[in-house]
């Protein structure tokens, strides 16, 4: 068997194990961790697409996540929309907002994009708190009902148990990561990396940086908005804390530790960073202080991150004197 089919086999087995977990253990804590991982990994994967591959530091992801959550929650509870149409509407709205932010700021500079995306995320939280007539303010919308999904053959799947949410979110995460993987391994991903590595050179070769940057932003906004719309029914409440900076910091750390621009690295670090701090029972403040320290240390000691290190190793290997012919 060659290396590729070994990897494919490992991947399939890994997936089967993940989907078998609710059957193997009824432990709700394990399922809760799995659900958190599914949601957070979609967020970090989207951020990796925007920052790791395209080079745009975005703080807006949590805004997309929360917009998706509020939209889906409001449409499903107040307008009686189905789960999927609510979630799709949440994703669409997040995408539209992402395009506005991206288009307006990227024409100026990537500095402006970083600043605008941060302002946007903070604005979202404040609007959720103060636009009481729409969002019901700081109390949020508690008691979201268990959604149902119409399956083919007239069956209805009522998503009420942790195991149901586990399947739902894991299934969506697989879809989201497959999409991201498809993009980053295609020539679209190659163009994004080119823009990150040397934008003027890319322009001189006919690549339109704005188009690819907007594509990355749109995709990540869509996925973040949709996963927000699904996750919120698991939480059973949506309130302004859905926009908490905690999510931003968590996904940033996942991307930085996993290596910006490394698909599997970020996926792995998402899993580890979902489980480990939770198992160690850190309080949120302490965890954030530690993340801050890690971020500072990473920027001072390993400015290139994992990717930079791998790159230097590859360069060193090629520079080794070759055996004379």
């Amino acid at each position: 068997m060659n290396a590729i089919s070994v990897r494919a086999l490992a991947f399939v087995i890994g997936l089967m194990v993940l989907f078998a977990i609710p059957k193997l253990t009824g432990n709700e804590y394990v399922l809760a961790l799995g659900i958190s991982f599914a949601a957070l990994s979609v967020l970090s994967g989207g951020l990796n697409l925007v920052y790791g591959y395209t080079g745009l530091l975005s703080f807006a992801q949590v805004g997309f996540f929360g917009i998706g959550s509020y939209t889906a929650a409001l449409l499903v509870t107040e307008q009686n929309w189905s789960l999927w149409s609510g979630v799709a509407a949440g994703g669409a709205l997040a995408t539209a907002v992402g395009m506005v932010i991206g288009y307006s700021s990227l024409r100026l500079s990537r500095h402006a994009f970083a600043i605008v995306s941060l302002s946007f995320a903070l604005l979202c939280m404040i609007v959720a708190r103060d636009w009481v007539s729409l969002t019901r303010g700081a109390m949020g919308i508690p008691g979201l009902p268990a959604p149902t999904i119409n399956l083919p053959g007239g069956m209805r799947w009522r998503i009420a148990q942790p195991a149901d949410f586990y399947y739902l979110l894991l299934g969506f995460a697989v879809f989201a990561h497959a999409l991201i993987y498809g993009v980053v391994t295609s020539r679209l991903g190659r163009a994004m990396r080119a823009i990150k590595l040397n934008e003027p050179l890319a322009q001189s070769q006919g690549i339109n940086p704005l188009a690819y940057k907007l594509l990355a932003i749109a995709l990540s906004a869509l996925l973040a908005g949709m996963v927000g719309g699904l996750f919120v029914f698991y939480l059973t409440i949506v309130d302004p804390s859905i926009f908490d900076f905690y999510y931003t910091e968590t996904m940033l750390i996942m991307v930085i530790i996993g290596g910006p621009g490394s698909f599997w690295g970020v996926l792995a670090s998402s899993a580890v960073l979902t489980a480990v701090p939770d198992l160690l029972r850190f309080t949120t403040d302490l965890r954030m202080v530690l993340y801050g320290v890690v971020l500072i240390a990473a920027m001072l000691l390993f400015p290139g991150g994992l990717g930079g290190w791998l790159h230097r190793r590859r360069v060193a290997r090629w520079r080794q004197p070759r055996v004379a012919p």
């Binding site: 498809g182 993009v183 295609s186 020539r187 679209l188 190659r190 163009a191 990396r193 080119a194 590595l197 040397n198 003027p200 050179l201 890319a202 322009q203 001189s204 070769q205 006919g206 690549i207 339109n208 940086p209 594509l215 990717g307 790159h311 590859r314 360069v315 090629w318 520079r319």
Partner: protein
């Protein structure tokens, strides 16, 4: 005789920076298949003029046309897609991509594969990718870097990076290639190698405009030379005439290149 349409036509190109006119009412035309040199003392506006032509700087005045199609005011990527590619004086490469990837990226916006096709990975994409790889390998062989096709560009020496940049500028089969100082700062052996490469590429039908400081290099390579001084064109003609042009000699006077020009003349 009916006049042939020039490949590139520049009319009245002007670029000012706060009080300084870097390019002043520059006009010229290039014929298809030619290799033309653009020389001039440091700061005479050579790089600025090609930055304007390739869309990286906004020109204050002037128009330019490729094959009769107006390129004035277009964004850099549009100008590149229209068939005018360039290299940079400060040589640029994607350090973390392999040499072959560096070249394939350079072709991907010109092969008509849509985003959807790229994602779905159908026949169109596979055909286009195979063609790009083949052309990339061929160009790497031409510039003598075929052994490093799968190495990251970061391992290349300065001169090799210039070669990679030249190869990349050829990838999308452009109509006109502008090289900004292709041999500045590289050793003599490499200069001759680059000269060979440029001849080979020209023989395959590419038109080139070469910006250089190295007068010998330009004189031996180009059939025609345009000379800039303080943003204005002061001479335009075959190398032999340029060498004896009094205004050119004056522009280079007091500069050690005057000696170079004389030496080349004698």
């Amino acid at each position: 005789m009916t006049p042939v349409q020039p490949l590139l036509e520049v009319r009245g190109l002007t670029k000012r920076y706060l009080g300084l006119t870097a390019v002043d009412d520059l006009s010229y035309a290039l014929e298809t298949g030619s290799v033309v040199g653009l020389i001039g003392p440091n700061g005479s506006g050579k790089s600025t003029s090609i930055d304007c032509m390739s869309g990286f700087q906004a020109a204050d005045r002037g128009q330019w046309f490729l094959d009769g199609r107006e390129l004035t005011g277009l964004a850099p990527h549009r100008i590149a897609r229209a068939g005018l590619t360039r290299t940079f004086q400060t040589v640029r490469a994607y350090d973390e991509l392999t040499l072959l990837e560096n070249l394939c990226v350079a072709a991907q916006e010109n092969d008509g594969v849509s985003w959807m096709q790229a994602l779905l990975r159908g026949k169109t994409l596979r055909g286009a990718d195979a063609a790009a790889r083949a052309r990339g390998l061929e160009l790497l062989a031409t510039v003598g870097l075929a052994n490093y096709a799968d190495a990251p560009a970061a391992i290349l020496s300065y001169g090799q990076r210039k070669l990679l940049a030249i190869a990349a500028s050829m990838m999308p089969k452009p109509r006109l290639v502008v090289l900004d100082e292709p041999v500045a700062g590289v050793n003599q052996t490499m200069v001759r190698h680059i000269e060979e490469v440029i001849r080979k590429l020209n023989a395959e039908g590419v038109t080139l405009l070469i910006v250089e400081h190295n007068v010998d290099f330009i004189m031996s390579l180009c059939s025609r030379v345009i000379v800039l001084e303080s943003g204005s064109k002061i001479a335009d003609g075959p190398p032999g005439l340029i060498r004896s042009d009094p205004r050119v000699l004056a522009a280079y006077l007091g500069n050690k290149r005057a000696a170079e020009l004389d030496a080349g003349n004698g």
